[in-house]
Symmetry: D2
Subunit: 93 residues, 4 copies
Amino acid sequence: MVGYSDHKQDQLRRLRRVEGQVRGLQRMIEDEKYCIDILTQVSAATSALQSVAISLLEDHLAHCVAEATAKGGPEAQAKVKEASDAIARLVRS
Amino acid sequence: MVGYSDHKQDQLRRLRRVEGQVRGLQRMIEDEKYCIDILTQVSAATSALQSVAISLLEDHLAHCVAEATAKGGPEAQAKVKEASDAIARLVRS
Amino acid sequence: MVGYSDHKQDQLRRLRRVEGQVRGLQRMIEDEKYCIDILTQVSAATSALQSVAISLLEDHLAHCVAEATAKGGPEAQAKVKEASDAIARLVRS
Amino acid sequence: MVGYSDHKQDQLRRLRRVEGQVRGLQRMIEDEKYCIDILTQVSAATSALQSVAISLLEDHLAHCVAEATAKGGPEAQAKVKEASDAIARLVRS
C-alpha cells in the first residue's frame, strides 16, 4: 500500500493530460507556432506537473510520514528529512 | 521563419524525452512505486520542460525581439512587454 | 514551544544575511549598477529565503505535524492539509 | 545610464518593502510565531523579490539588449546569452 492509493486514478488522469500537453508542444514546434504561445503551453504543463507533485506530497505526509512519526525514533527523523529534501528539490526546480 | 528554427530538432528531442518521463511517471503510479522516487522524477521532468522554455526564450530574444527593437516604436515595446510577461509566467510556474 | 525552537538562532542569522542582501540591492540600484549583476543578487536573496522556508518546513513536519498525526483524527488531517498548502505556495512563488 | 533609470524609485520602494518584510520575519521568529504564518510571509517576500527581478529584466531587454541587438554582431549575441542565463537563474531559484 502506498500513500497515494486513494488518488491513483486522479494522478493517472492528470499525467495523461500532461502527456497530451507535451505531445501538443511537439506539434507546435513542428508546425513552427509562435514562441510565446509555446511558452504559455510549457508553463501550463509545468504547473500541471507541480500539482501532481503537491498532491503526492500531501498523501505522502498524511500516510508514510505520519506512520513513521507515530512510531518515533531514527526512522521518523529519516522520513521527515527525506520529505524535506523532496520539497527542496521541488521548490528549486 | 520562427526564432527557434535552428533548434527545432533539439527541442523535439527534448520534448520526446519529457514525454517519455511523463509516461514513465504513469507506470510508476500504476506499479505503486515509492512516492519520493516519483517526486524525484517529477522534478526531473519539470527541469527538462524549463530547459525547453529557456532555450525557446533565448531564440525568441535573439530573433523576434531583436528584429522588433531594431525597428523601434510601439511594436518594439509590445514585443518586450510580451516577452517579459512570458518570463514572469515561467518564473512563477 | 514552536517546531523551530532549536534552529531559532540559525534562522535569525540567515534572515539578517538576507536583510543585508536586500539593503545591498538598494545600494546597487542607487549606484546604478549593471542590471545583470543586480539580478544575480536577487536570485541569491531568493534562494536564501527559500532555504529559510525549507528549514522551517522540516521543523514543522518533525514537530507540529508529527504531533498532530500521532493523535490522528480531523486535526491531523487539517495539519497535513495546512502544510501541503504552504508547500504549494512555496513551489509556486 | 542604466536600463532601469526610469524605474529607480519604484524599485527602491519595492526593495524597502522587502527589507521591511524580512525584518518582520525576524520579529516573527523571535516572538516564536506559528511556522505556517512565517512561511506565508516568506512566500510574499520571495514573490516581491521576483517582481523586482522581472521589472529589471523588462527594462534590461528594452534598453541594453535592444541597443546591442540593433548594432548586431558578436556583442548582440553575448547580450542575449547573458540575459538568457539570468532568466535561467531566476526560473531555477
